[in-house]
């Protein structure tokens, strides 16, 4: 059954149940992945998945929802029935409607959909990659976490008002996580992830090189003393922290009382005037881009922080209505609709006169801590309180030397961090979650065990 046929089937089933208002979101996927262990295939996986989420509005205009993997005729009827029953418990205090933009044109870029290469080719490529990584340095003894995958999927949104959108995509991912060991030293691990529209788009060589270099660079390690340090966040680590506190930009979180912002925060100065942050789900480098959100609203570029000031919130249909604005294309599809950012882009604005431009991670000779990657985000971030305490992988730069930090955490407050940005380097770098330059922050607490 294709997506048009499913829409017809849902429409007919809804008619038979006298349900006049409904919408649905669906995804259909085929995924293939391989893992290897010292040259041998370890696990080869294939999956075919379908997920259908249906919402119905009852006569009191209250919404009920059901999710199912059963898209048979009986499954669809059952889902509509269950959603109808659930609508008795619909939220009377916050109504949900169709997105007013669900029929607006969507920007469908060249989606670069690739054909499957097949599991045998995936296996051959991953085996070679593992061998190369193991041969890249004598201390690399294993690649305990590895995988090469390709996915092909279709996403659909349709409603009883005639909106219908769908798109199909392909995506591939390679991850290599190496483990290095040297005598009388603790094992050290690091890795690299690369995404592409298809396997042929993935730069396997650079993934191997990056995984090897990062792992080896941590072999010479030492403890760090507990103190406050000048910090340089890698593009990846800065994006991690911005995403972890994205509730600051999230209208849903504001309404739920779990955001550091409030309805009147637009215009509030959060950071140096040199900082701009956008959410840009349609960015050409975003492999996972989607032209519409869970409610069918078109995805678009949205400025979140402009010259250090809060510029916009991200919205669903219902939060936009409450805030008297329009949906921004960041909604999920649920009984209570979630809102989340797509793809963060951090850049330096023209207002950069207060920056200490001498701080450049490749040339600066003073003491600083370079945070390459933040870990355990789910455990160490209190988004509603603004605080974080996170373990990280990184280096201490001191007296012209660079030494890997054995085990440490960085702790602070997101508002303090944003206010204490002292430099934003010029070059933006592409990561799997967005684009950012290196960001320098003064005086953050590091806990080590030296």
């Amino acid at each position: 059954m294709n997506s048009k046929e499913i829409t017809t089937q849902i429409s007919e089933a809804a008619d038979s149940l006298n349900l006049k208002k409904w919408d649905y979101g669906a995804s259909f996927s085929n995924d293939f992945s391989v893992q290897v262990d010292k040259g041998e295939a370890k696990q080869l996986k294939a999956s075919q998945k379908q997920i259908l989420t249906i919402r119905v509005w009852n006569e009191s205009n209250l919404v009920g929802i059901t999710t199912t993997s059963d898209i048979s005729e009986s499954g669809i009827k059952k889902a509509l029935n269950q959603a109808n029953i659930a609508s008795d418990f619909g939220n009377k205090n916050e109504r949900t409607e169709f997105s007013p933009l669900a029929k607006d044109p969507i920007e469908v870029k060249d989606l670069k959909k690739r054909n499957p290469v097949g599991i045998k080719k995936l296996l051959t490529l991953l085996r070679k990659a593992e061998v190369k990584l193991l041969e890249s340095h004598e201390s690399i003894k294993s690649v305990p976490y590895n995988g090469l995958s390709e996915s092909f999927y279709e996403r659909v949104y349709a409603n009883s008002d005639g909106a219908f959108r769908s798109y199909t995509k392909s995506q591939a991912a390679l991850y290599l996580y190496a483990r290095a060991e040297e005598k009388n030293k603790k094992p050290r691990s690091s890795g690299s992830v690369k995404l592409g529209y298809g396997v042929e788009d993935i730069d396997i060589e650079s993934c191997i090189k990056e995984a090897s270099n990062k792992t080896i660079s941590h072999l010479n390690y030492s403890s760090i003393k507990t103190d406050k340090f000048l910090i340089c966040f890698s593009p990846e680590s800065f994006l991690t922290i911005i995403n972890a506190f994205s509730s600051m930009f999230n209208a849903r979180s504001i309404l739920d009382g779990v955001s550091l912002s409030n309805k009147n925060s637009i215009g509030e100065k959060l950071s140096t005037e040199a900082l701009n942050i956008y959410d840009d789900g349609l960015h050409e480098k975003n492999i996972s881009s989607s032209p519409f959100d869970g409610e069918g609203t078109p995805t678009k570029r949205l400025c979140l922080i402009n010259k250090g000031r809060l510029e916009n919130f991200i919205h669903s249909e219902s939060t936009a209505r409450i805030f008297k604005t329009i949906p921004t294309g960041h909604a999920g599809l649920g009984s209570k609709v979630s809102v989340s950012p797509d793809w963060i882009v951090v850049e330096k604005s023209e207002e950069d006169s207060d920056l200490k431009t001498s701080l450049d991670h490749s040339t600066y000779e003073g003491e600083f801590v370079y945070i390459e990657e933040l870990n355990a985000i789910h455990a160490g971030v209190r988004a509603s309180q603004g605080s974080f305490s996170l373990p990280f992988d990184g280096w201490l730069y001191q007296n012209g030397e660079k030494i890997s930090i054995e085990s440490a955490t960085v702790a602070g407050d997101i508002k303090y961090l944003l206010k204490n940005i002292v430099n934003i380097e010029s070059n933006q770098e592409l990561t799997t979650s967005g684009i950012s330059p290196h960001i320098w922050v003064d005086e953050l607490s590091i806990t080590g065990d030296a």
Binding site: D37, E40, A41, K42, Q43, L44, K45, A46, S47, Q48, K49, Q50, I65, T66, T67, T68, S69, D70, I71, Q82, A86, F89, N91, N93, I119, K120, K141, S142, P144, Y145, R179, R188, S189, T226, D256, G257, V258, G334, S335, K336, N375, A376, H378, A379, R382, S384, Q385, G386, S389, L390, P391, S407, A408, T409, A411, G412, S445, T447, G448, D449
Partner: protein
């Protein structure tokens, strides 16, 4: 077996599917597989969310699917599908066989048909009618959130989740079992605020196989606990970082053992070569006061099972006895690849994951000390009353946030402190657990790992760690 003898062309829950399952397994073995396993599930789930004084979300979901796993020597191919017809299942077997590049040879494994059906679901079919209705759940959640309507509490949430999973497992070693599993959780969360001060508090409760459990939930006590916790932490200062002795509270304090040590005792870690304990069987890896257990049999506990996801009844595994490593947690692939016998620990989130060795109810056994003995023994340290989440890195480093902490000064609890994170490595910390209390209690949780998110129980009595790195400001 002739296909004309097959009675049904589709898996039907509640019916005998033996002939169809046998035909599919015969088909896989005939194509050269060493081993064929079929895992089929049918789910019926519901979640309810109460915010402030309203129900804001009711989300039912249902679905079905199959995961088919083929082994050839030590490698395996896994295919999952929503298509439970004979054609769909056979196509999945073919796909797995082709992925593994299996060639039919003369030395073929023998499949003698499925054993007698072990049906663990017989007394459980009524559960779906015994669980509380959405109305009943909503009313109790709203009473709970209403009771938290107090000064300085700005956000009140109550949530309930019910997962009912009906499973069929059949494999070429003759395994043929059915079961029904019921898991229910209920939680309360608050955020307190006063001027620039903010704190949060949460408590979660969970059970397996006890349809009446939600009705017995003491929501008043839960609300009082979560309120007190948030109030105690509202004006707390940030903790000073450093090395110090720590007392970890019972119940969810056990999350540290689970994350930092338990995962390193799963055979998947041996397969990867990422556990420092690989060659330490029968060697001392912890302080002699430590005995640690992983089991799936405690009645009603969140990690308990009648049968694991590979059709084996769970056993009680003593992992560490008086500080000596005694056993690893193993599944079928683990036994095949590492030689450690299966422990009934093959678990998966659902049909779309291959089973892996996973913990169930994991805890440190009780000792002989009172909580006060532990605290009195410390002149300057930290009491971690409530733990947040945590994680363990690829080389065994762990970190855990402390949700509710208090300084210990001269053997007494003093000021509340926030922002603490415990950092270390299992092999360094396990020998430093020098005292165990006599107040073992368990707490439910969810564990995410290679085979998805599974229900587990963590637990311990109060324990004292002589020295650990505390991250702070």
């Amino acid at each position: 077996m002739l296909s004309s003898q097959i009675k049904s062309n589709e898996i039907v829950f509640g019916s005998c599917n033996k002939d169809l399952l046998e035909e599919i397994i015969f088909y896989g073995i005939g194509l050269g597989a060493d081993f064929v396993e079929i895992f089929i599930e049918n789910t019926d789930n519901s979640t309810v969310l109460a915010e402030e004084d309203f129900i804001t979300s009711v989300s039912p979901s249902f679905g079905r699917g199959a995961g088919i796993r083929i082994f050839k020597e030590k490698k395996d191919g896994f295919v999952s599908t929503n298509d439970l017809t004979k054609h769909g299942l056979m196509r999945s077997v073919t796909q797995a066989i082709e992925m593994l590049d299996i060639v039919v040879d003369k030395k073929r494994e023998v499949f003698n048909g499925l054993n007698k059906h072990r049906d663990y679901s017989l007394c459980k079919k009524k559960w779906i009618n015994e669980v509380p209705s959405i109305h009943e759940i909503s009313e109790k959640l709203l009473v709970s959130t209403k009771s938290l309507k107090k000064n300085k509490i700005i956000t009140r949430k109550g949530s309930y989740s019910r997962n009912l999973q009906e499973i069929i497992i059949a494999s070429s070693d003759g395994t043929y079992v059915s079961d029904i599993r019921l898991h229910q959780t209920v939680g309360l969360n608050v955020i307190a605020s006063d001027a620039q001060y903010r704190s949060s508090g949460s408590r979660r409760f969970g059970s397996s196989g006890m349809p009446n459990e939600f009705r017995l939930w003491d929501h008043e006590k839960a609300a009082n606990d979560v309120f007190e916790s948030s109030m105690n932490m509202l004006y707390a200062d940030y903790v000073d970082a450093g090395q110090m002795p720590v007392v970890l509270a019972n119940k969810f304090g056990g999350v540290i053992f689970h994350e930092a040590c338990g995962h390193l005792l799963e055979t998947t870690q041996i397969e990867r070569g990422t556990t420092p304990f690989e060659n330490k069987l029968n060697e001392k890896i912890a302080h002699e006061s430590v005995t640690a257990i992983d089991e799936g049999i405690s009645e009603g506990s969140f990690g308990s099972l009648s049968v694991d996801d590979e059709g084996m009844e769970p056993e009680k595994s003593v992992l560490i006895k008086d500080g000596i490593l005694k056993k690893f947690i193993s599944d079928r692939a683990g036994e095949l690849r590492t030689g450690h016998k299966r422990t009934g620990s093959g678990r998966r989130q659902n049909y779309s994951f291959a089973a892996a060795s996973r913990m169930r109810n994991t805890y440190i056994a009780k000792g002989e000390h009172s909580k006060e003995d532990l605290i009195n023994s410390i002149s300057d340290g930290l009491y971690c009353k409530s733990m947040g989440g945590g994680s363990v890195g690829a080389t065994g480093q762990f970190n855990f946030s402390v949700e509710e902490g208090y300084l210990i000064k001269n053997g007494k609890l003093t000021n509340p402190v926030k922002g603490a994170t415990l950092i270390g490595e299992a092999k360094d910390v396990m020998p430093k657990i020098s005292m165990c209390g006599n107040d073992l209690e368990l707490a439910p949780g969810f564990c995410g790992s290679i085979s998805g998110s599974v229900n587990v129980t963590v637990g311990q009595p109060h324990i004292k760690v002589d020295s650990i790195t505390v991250g702070g400001r």
